[in-house]
Symmetry: C2
Subunit: 308 residues, 2 copies
Amino acid sequence: MTDPLSTWHEGATKDAILDYVARTCAEDSAEAVPQVERVAVFDNDGTLWCEKPMPIQLDFILRRLAEMAEADSTLRDQQPWKAAHERDYAWLAQVMEEHYAGDDTNVQTVGAGIVAAFANITVDQFEADAGAFLHGTRHPTLDGGYLECAYAPMVELLAYLRANGFANYIASGGGRDFMRPISDEVYGIPREGVIGSAVALAYTPDEHGGAITRQNAADYLDDGPEKPVHIWTRTGRRPVVAAGNSNGDIEMLDFTQHPDKPTLRLLVLHDDAEREFDYVSGSERALERAASSGWTVVSMRRDWAKVF
Amino acid sequence: MTDPLSTWHEGATKDAILDYVARTCAEDSAEAVPQVERVAVFDNDGTLWCEKPMPIQLDFILRRLAEMAEADSTLRDQQPWKAAHERDYAWLAQVMEEHYAGDDTNVQTVGAGIVAAFANITVDQFEADAGAFLHGTRHPTLDGGYLECAYAPMVELLAYLRANGFANYIASGGGRDFMRPISDEVYGIPREGVIGSAVALAYTPDEHGGAITRQNAADYLDDGPEKPVHIWTRTGRRPVVAAGNSNGDIEMLDFTQHPDKPTLRLLVLHDDAEREFDYVSGSERALERAASSGWTVVSMRRDWAKVF
């Protein structure tokens, strides 16, 4: 029989996954989970694809902000255009650190800038721009394009779950409409399976079926306690499988809990400086919870035969 | 061959549906639509099930408001509790008329009351309450329970589309979480296929996977121009098939338009006083648009061999 997880090293982590699927999907299993309830949710940045040296969407956004500051000098004194114009990545890294530490003052400044940067664009245009960027941009340090930054073992895990009747969803802090153009191609997840952060949208009628346009306002940031809310909003179910990598995934992993069904909860640990990156910043609390709650920690270095 | 639309009378409407499916789903058709793009959206109240003498969810809500006014006399002077307590359906009918005429002053009063009436209840409790109500309540004038108020020809149409690879969604002004407990049983539409109005939700962690609780605030009313927005938000696609019955469905039907793909747009006309109800109130503009835009009008009296 072909190994369904050929990119995973033998060991406790791979065994936990294989064992979970066997217990929940074999027809004669006492713990079988009906197929309609096999909902699996995955964080994206740092869980399904690389998020260093910066989240891929942040690169997309910074290029846009830099273009705007290039075209309009009055923007160059305002954050986040200032940081984008000056390539001041240290300021942006600090904003992320502040966010994970619970201080969202600068996150709001960045968020407002991001929302404004893509306001008044139709969803079709935004999708075309995001798709072109993702297909046409190389990772700054790794060898390959951004679409090659998906983790091969996670892509294989998605396929394995799908083959066993699971419905896979992306539950990402990243933008829903940023990921949709590539979710099927990269992850085998259809457009309707992408849950993520969103801006407010508005419909304007015209003679050709109207247009949906991005507004200058956020709808929600799909992170932390918002993840269970939007998973429920979209699927109407509490998942049985969840995978994340950071503090923003704690609530999603916690929500993946049933009194009467087994669950599989994975936390990807970035401990592979050679093949990817080695960091725990932004994941400290999640790692503590993994230890205290028995979530399965996926060590990139130990558990993955290949990364990309 | 078995007739896939046996509850539809022979005629132009049935032919239009059969012809559309043949043109878009036959592999050798020049107008074939790829299966992933076969998205069909359906209004619920007045399109898939009966909405007279009042929308089914309104009955559910009024019973709750009346219970609250019974328990707390101070509520009996405030709308909408006053109307519920006094069974003043005329006031509520007038609010609906005002809504369709573009005046939402009292709609907001009613909306605020409804949101408050179900606030601080978990989504699981709300679902149990809605499911019990829908399974256990009889229609006030028709012969049968509320779940028997689904239109048999529309249920057969949903099955016919599903068998031809369409993904059916409910795009209703009614509450998403009100319909989910019965959508699969009644329409064969899974929980994740239900799009509808929503209240704000919040996640609260606890030792057993946390709870999602309804807040005292609306999220959005899925009607009129909000329908295209939430169809897009959920599916990431512009539909090819849409069915509605009222002015609140105009934008959804309009949005169902492609430069390069055939579409099927149905407007259910309530012209059957004998078997259901006969009314056009709230649908006047939609009927005008059907005539001017070539949408297919479904006459309940002429086109349906049976209604329930």
